[in-house]
Symmetry: C2
Subunit: 413 residues, 2 copies
């Protein structure tokens, strides 16, 4: 079993798979900013593990950086490290049997969240200004929320996945986490290939005309998280002079279902069927060593009846259509990013504890997943001295509008 990296004097964040110093190709808007890269995104000449030592050992080192890495290097960014990912990026907790558990600097006794665990830890711990990660079911949003960072999952397929193998092509995205909004904004606009700010194409629409509040998500939260979110929202709306509209998922999509159903009856089935074709296919044909926790999760993938679940794919498409019809230009929807603060390290040992964390978390993250929406998590809440994020989402492909709306609503530094 590979033991590196772990917390050490040279890396108190416990996030580094390898420390690097890849200089920018040229100057640009990211001048002076240091970034890390999740270990499922290719860096030329270095093996990519996808969080699995078996995968790493079975595949040659790539010859090229992923396109998203080259975009950042060509905009002035400096790559300072490859950082830990959960095994096959198939987790939201960030405890890796193989690579250690990166440190949640804001709540050191708690997990960092995953699967972009090293991305969040490297930024929260001050090693990097931002980190390149991936998000299918919450893998950027959740660790950003639990580590007190800004994070963005872009619209599905706005950013090229060349050099990243999307295990769930119907859900997977490349995005980033950062310590400041201004940094997230810059990095995401490079990745999104956004028009220069002020360009009529990109910013010709009003930032926020309507702010919706997704009530179902609040009901899935711990009481203290819901209260902190309501309080923050009150401040935001007062300052912005906006009256929010409370909406329910069932009304948005015109179906008698809530967020838990959105996950369990729709998105999760698409994700599972897709993972069978990608990571699952490799596992079945290669029989690699699997970590204990991943093995448990993978048992469900293996047993999954993809044919029986095909109707879920059609449901995903109907939900996508309905959610986007409810989110025209100028409309933003808000909800807590995660229903809880980070679980204590080592606490996710029983099935009950695992489900108590995963089920409500994935119910909330499934909203943007099924809607293919851009979502930004803002580090606005504190409960029991631990951070939680408040999320804002906008219509599919409304990424720049969401960045502008976030700035207008939250007036971050």
């Amino acid at each position: 079993m590979a033991s590196s990296p772990h917390v050490s004097a040279s890396d108190p964040t416990g996030s580094l798979v390898e420390r690097l110093s890849i200089p920018p190709y040229r100057g640009g808007v990211l001048d002076g900013l240091r970034f890390t890269v999740k270990d499922n995104i290719d860096l030329a000449g270095r093996k990519t593990s996808y969080g699995s030592p078996a995968w790493r050992d079975a595949h040659a080192a790539p010859q090229q950086n992923a396109l998203c890495v080259d975009q950042l290097l060509a905009a002035g960014g400096t790559c300072i490290g490859k950082v830990v990912a959960d095994e096959f990026t198939y987790s939201l907790d960030g405890e890796s049997q193989f690579f250690g558990t990166p440190v949640n600097a804001r709540a050191p006794e708690r997990v960092p969240g995953g699967s972009s665990s090293g991305s969040a830890a490297s930024v929260a711990g001050g090693l990097a200004d931002f980190s390149l990660g991936t998000d299918s079911g919450g893998s950027i949003r959740v660790p950003a929320s639990l580590c007190g960072l800004w994070g963005m999952r872009p619209s599905l397929h706005r950013i090229s996945e060349a050099g990243v193998l999307p295990f769930m092509p119907g859900v997977s995205t490349v995005g980033a986490a950062a310590d400041r909004f201004a940094v997230l904004d810059k990095a995401m606009r490079v990745l999104l290939r956004s028009a220069p700010e002020g360009d009529a194409t990109a910013d010709g629409e009003p930032a926020v005309e309507r702010l919706l509040i997704l009530e179902d998500a609040f009901e899935l939260c711990d009481g203290a998280v819901a209260r902190a979110a309501e309080e923050a929202l009150g401040t935001i709306c007062d300052r912005a002079g906006i009256v929010p509209e409370r909406v329910r998922f069932a009304d948005l999509v015109g179906r008698d279902m809530g967020l838990a159903d959105c996950n369990a009856k729709a998105l999760r089935n698409l994700q599972t069927a897709e993972f069978q074709n990608t990571g699952g296919n490799w596992i079945e044909t290669q029989k690699p060593e699997l970590g204990f926790v991943f093995s448990m999760a993978y048992g469900n993938v293996r047993a999954f009846d993809r044919i029986a679940a095909l109707d879920s794919l059609a449901l995903c498409e109907r939900l996508f259509e309905a959610i986007n019809a409810a989110l025209p230009q100028g409309t933003v929807i808000c909800f807590p990013t995660t229903p809880v603060i980070a679980p204590l390290k080592g606490s996710l040992t029983s099935l009950e504890a695992v489900l108590a964390f995963y089920d409500p978390t994935m119910a909330i993250t499934s909203f943007s997943g099924v809607g293919r929406l851009p979502e930004i998590t803002a580090p606005l809440l504190t409960v029991d001295d631990a951070p939680v994020g408040l999320s804002f989402a906008a219509r599919h492909y409304g990424d720049e509008a969401l960045l502008a709306a976030t700035r207008a609503l939250l007036q971050p530094e």
Copy 2:
């Protein structure tokens, strides 16, 4: 060198890599319809070649069908064969050194077009009712045009690529070719997971309010193709009582550039950079045997300066935005699918002949590529006794509207 399959008594279409008989999982709208599957789309228990014997030999047989195959089998379709693809799907001509050249039944002395060469040949030759293929730079549209079939490239990423490795994730799509519009329509609606027809969500918009004609594409065509297209368009517009509007690419996108620039200065650079990360990375690390013609093309990939070309990615995004702003609901744009009829077999032997076919063809196909548009090619034209298609495209994610518009405009059987 693998020599099978070739034209034989048991397969006069020369399209089959393997004859199959995979029954439907259950009945559905595709009852009684037979389909073939391009050999870059996984079929469980059978190796996938991507048109390369070296790739086939280096990879285990997948354990699962691609999700798109399962969608068709669960809707009543019967899979009758795995069919030839051009090497690494990186070609538009359909002449495979390894798997033979499938027969263009409508013009037997001519190439079938590629890279979905076996898909087109198996349908044109009557073996199948429709075929599942992929299209990045024209790989469904071109063979459908040259073999006299209906073909559809859907919006980028409307259909899941699980079980298909997209070599160019910013451009690659899963789509189909068929002998009749009604069959294409049924198969695509299954793949797109479309709402039932008549559903307000899917069909609530008017089919065709405006029909644009992309003049640049006509100018890239052989004179006889352009004249046949103009004549067909005249008939269509008279019958539909619609007055078409002639537009130029430069005016649509607000930049001083034509379709040749759209390909050479924008889309081709994105495609080449992405292929370096996918197929190119595998080739560089594994050093497989490559076919002669692919080797020539790959030389350009290998020599490509991805960093210098990064500005092209931003240009692609600006063109995407401008094209889609010009194609609101109810607007369809029309142009010849290919500028020429199929080249004679064995005629693409000089660089001059290759460029004379590829450059104007890819200039035209780059329009929907950079726009991420759905495009349907209709088998409406005949020049020198050989078929050519007329294409209709609509806005990104307007796939069902395009199917409805095509039916309304062309009134196919």
